[in-house]
């Protein structure tokens, strides 16, 4: 299976993503944002980081870059597009995902492990993961997900809220919310569930001896779906 990780000036989780994808068997290519066409891919990843120094708004400049039009075409034809952290911010700025990621409510950069609850199984990212709760890592200043009430209703009605911040028992309450995101939202899908944006970093949790292993379940599950 082929994947592509798109690199913008200021991306800094691109190599971690490359290592993770390769570890689980993807043939991954790193694609510089200005290098023309997208290679043929089964999965496109927009990695974390600080594209364009977070100028204007996080992800806004990358969201208008040349390669993004190809990503939009790929996504609209049903291809899997994953945006992690800054990648999630870019996906909202392109309009592929609704809403926006605002500054954390406590005005602090948050860097810690969190628990997230898998809310939906009708998708290729989380369907056969045999855990309800995953422990992943977050590191962001703008992860406070916000959208209009109408948009939120649509997300809920279509089961597009992919993952929510919770405690280790799965309670999605105020105390388990690190950044003020509405409804503890940590990640969302588009309507067709081929596009996933999430703040937590699965690529940082692929080795039980270093950090944790729950990210491995995520990558293995995507790969298994693509192989079918």
């Amino acid at each position: 299976m082929k994947s592509s990780v798109i690199i913008f000036p200021g991306s800094n989780c691109d190599r971690d993503m490359d290592v993770a994808l390769k570890k689980f068997g993807f043939k991954n290519k790193m694609v510089w944002h200005n290098d023309g066409d997208l290679p043929q891919s089964d999965l496109i990843v927009l990695p974390g980081g600080f594209s364009y120094g977070d100028y204007l708004r996080c992800g806004s400049i990358a969201g208008k870059s040349k390669i993004i039009n190809s990503v939009i075409d790929f996504a609209e034809s049903g291809g899997l597009v994953l945006g992690v952290c800054n990648g999630f911010q870019i996906l909202t700025e392109t309009g592929l995902l609704p809403g926006v990621l605002q500054q954390n409510k406590n005005i602090e950069f948050i860097c810690k492990n969190v628990f997230i609850k898998i809310n939906d199984r009708e998708n290729k990212y989380f369907n056969n993961i045999d855990k309800e709760i995953l422990e992943l890592h977050i590191a962001h200043n703008e992860g406070n997900y916000f959208c209009s009430n109408d948009e939120l209703k649509k997300l809920e009605d279509n089961n597009q809220i992919a993952v929510s911040y919770c405690d280790n028992k799965g309670n999605c309450d105020y105390q388990a919310n690190p950044n003020g995101a509405i409804k503890n939202i940590a990640g969302i899908f588009n309507k067709n569930k081929n596009i996933l944006g999430m703040m937590p970093h699965p690529e940082r949790m692929i080795d039980k001896y270093l950090s944790g292993d729950d990210g491995s379940l995520f990558f293995k599950n995507i790969l298994n779906n693509l192989k079918r």
Binding site: R57, K64, T92, E93, I107, F146, C147, S148
Partner: protein, 77 residues
């Protein structure tokens, strides 16, 4: 010609930075400050002599890039 654009958060959208600035002003001896909303200001130098045309182009720029209409409003001055 020069076009000035101000981008502000919509009413009801949380502004943690504005809140922190307000609290600091209160602590510094300005208790009368009841609310602060932080925004952005852009000076655009546009190669266009017709003001109506320039402003209409600037509006397009605001909608497409300068403001995120999910949470922000813009004004062309």
């Amino acid at each position: 010609m020069k076009i000035k654009v101000v981008v502000t958060l919509k009413n009801g959208v949380l502004d943690p930075q504005g809140k922190a600035i307000q609290q600091t002003l209160n602590n510094m001896g300005f208790p009368e400050v009841e609310s602060v909303r932080q925004g952005k200001y852009f000076d655009l130098e546009i190669n266009e002599k017709d003001e109506v045309k320039a402003k209409s182009r600037a509006e397009e720029m605001c909608k497409k890039l300068l403001a995120n209409l999910v949470i922000e409003d813009f004004k062309i001055l």
